[in-house]
């Protein structure tokens, strides 16, 4: 008992320090959590409690993603949402498959790498928008609609990835079809039930007592997450759907406020235990391919974002800011890497590769976004000189 208490004291102490450092450096906190995990990994063994609480962290991350998912922005700006979002997808998803194939990886690993390269993090991006004072700029609407598209893509992607993983290496068309059918039925049933019984559900969960509300909300989220597993989806997808359901009720703000502290605690444990599973040596081993991946990932994100910005009518300068803003990477790449590790071949090292990739991009990404004006001014004078 004291052993566990002390272990958690150390874990949360180090994580708290990481959070303080990230705030003073104005960088995303996720890579620092992972870094803390790598350092702690030499000293502490991650036990089942940490892992379990970490998996709750994933559930709450996806729940809040579903909760914040803006159905309104999909309905109000469908052109921007679809056109810009799909350009971002087309430029960044297939490239991961190509790189994976070039490395001689299996299909599942390629699919994972594609996800790692494509997924940005809406939470990190919207935080950067606020921190860098970009909320009033015209291109911000486009950036955030692309993030809404990515959020939806994450849920669909995780469902497909889970089907691929549980399907095992000998994937049959019939088996996959059945999986997808089951998953689709589950989603449909949940949405219909939520629509039909929205008022009773709201009454059931909402209670004046903060205590009762917290407990019943927890039970609801975990119930949907576990029934998603039974339906062949992952708990993460279930949690996203639970978030969508609550997000369309009056309880949205209250649920977000109540669950935020738990999400913070458990998600931090998820990232630190991911870090504890990494060896420094394996990260050094993949340094060169990982940095190449950073170049590719950065390049395709900026280019895809630039074209997406142009496609919805932004002038080149604003489109360039869109491109640079899409780069910040975060938690979802790590989530995918953790899932990928369960099916990866011994040689592929996808966890270490993703860790280095996320590390590098979550430093380069926000800086690129912050300095977007200067980068553009620099490029503009260069081209003017070369024209003259």
């Amino acid at each position: 008992m004291e052993g566990h208490l002390f272990q958690f004291a150390v874990l949360f102490g180090v994580l708290g320090l990481a959070a303080v450092v990230s705030i003073s450096l104005r960088l995303p906190v996720v890579p620092l959590y992972i870094g803390a995990g790598v350092v702690l990994g030499g000293l502490l063994e991650p036990n089942d409690i940490v892992r379990f609480l970490g998996s709750l962290g994933v559930v709450f991350l996806l729940f809040s993603l579903g909760l914040e998912f803006s159905q309104e922005s999909v309905a109000r700006a469908p052109k921007r949402f679809l056109r810009a979002g799909s350009l971002d997808f087309l430029f960044n998803f297939p490239i991961g498959i190509l790189v994976g194939l070039a490395l001689g990886w299996s299909w599942i690993e390629c699919f994972c790498l594609a996800g790692v390269l494509y997924m940005s993090s809406s939470a990190v991006v919207s935080k950067c928008v606020v921190d860098f004072g970009r909320a009033t700029r015209p291109e911000t609407e486009t950036i955030l609609s692309i993030m809404v598209f990515e959020d939806l893509a994450i849920a669909v992607y995780l469902a497909v990835l889970n089907a691929l993983i549980t399907g095992g290496p000998e994937l049959t068309a019939a088996g996959t079809g059945l999986q997808i059918l089951k998953a689709a039925l589950f989603v449909l049933l949940l949405i219909l039930l939520a629509r039909r019984y929205q008022a009773p559900l709201e009454r059931l969960i909402s209670h004046r007592s903060e205590e009762a509300f917290t407990l019943v909300l927890f039970a609801f989220v975990l119930l949907v997450a576990s029934s998603a597993i039974a339906a062949g989806l992952s708990e993460a997808v279930g949690a996203f759907l639970a978030g969508l359901v609550i997000g369309s009720t009056q309880l949205k703000e209250r649920a977000a406020r109540t669950l935020f502290p738990f999400q913070t605690l458990f998600a931090a444990l998820f990232f630190v235990s991911f870090g504890m599973g990494l060896e420094l040596r394996s990260m050094v081993d993949v340094l060169v391919p990982a940095l190449l991946l950073v170049l590719i990932g950065f390049g395709t994100k900026v280019l895809g974002g630039f074209l997406a910005g142009r496609a919805v009518g932004h002038p080149p300068y604003q489109a360039a800011v869109v491109g640079l803003s899409l780069v910040p990477k975060g938690e979802f790449s790590i989530l995918i890497a953790a899932l990928a590790a369960t099916v990866a071949q011994p040689g592929s090292n996808i966890e270490a590769l993703t860790a280095v990739y996320v590390f590098a991009l979550s430093i380069i990404g926000p800086i690129g976004m912050r300095e977007a004006d200067r980068i553009w001014a620099f490029l503009a004078t260069k081209t003017r000189k070369s024209e003259a």
Binding site: F69, R76, G133, T136
Partner: protein
């Protein structure tokens, strides 16, 4: 002049007002409560103007709307799509003073309903039919704008236009 409202997912709500000289005044209401104002020119170049805390923004709004809504105002309203909720303070000379909710027949005469009576010594939500109105009570009414208008004309000297 046109005002556009867009949602900024994860950030807040953005209002843009087209002003003369092809510029836009952009106002962002952050979810966490503060406000940000900026000027955007026709090329999209953005000049940040001001950051306001929630209270400061309310004060600015009060001044810009020429003080039409203030704490001291005997009349305050909250408009929804088709109906409104209105706070109306009863003066000494209101014909309602001394009547009960039942006798006053507010609903029958104006269409508006009293949903609460606010008093310093204790407010009464969903007042019972025998609730007696006193001078100084603030009635909370719900109804279509014309019903509320009828109420104001019948029972107070506060009808709009004055």
């Amino acid at each position: 002049m046109a005002t556009h409202e867009t949602e900024l997912p994860g950030v807040g709500i953005k209002y843009s007002i087209d002003i003369e000289t092809d510029e836009q005044l952009v106002i962002v209401e952050h979810r966490v409560g503060h406000w940000e104002l900026a000027r955007v020119d026709s090329e999209g170049k953005t000049t940040p103007l001001l950051q306001l805390q929630s209270k400061e923004a309310t004060e600015l709004g009060r001044i810009l709307s020429r003080g039409e809504v203030t704490q001291e105002d005997p009349r305050k309203r909250m408009l929804f799509e088709e109906f409104g909720i209105e706070w109306v303070k009863l003066e000494q000379d209101s014909p309602l003073v001394g009547l009960t909710l039942q006798n006053a027949e507010i609903r029958a005469r104006t269409g508006a309903s009293v949903i609460a009576v606010l008093r310093p010594e204790g407010s009464i939500p969903s007042p019972a039919p025998d609730t007696r109105f006193r001078a100084g009570d603030t009635l909370v009414l719900i109804g279509h704008p014309d019903q509320v208008e009828r109420f104001l004309g019948t029972f107070t000297n506060l009808s709009s236009g004055t």
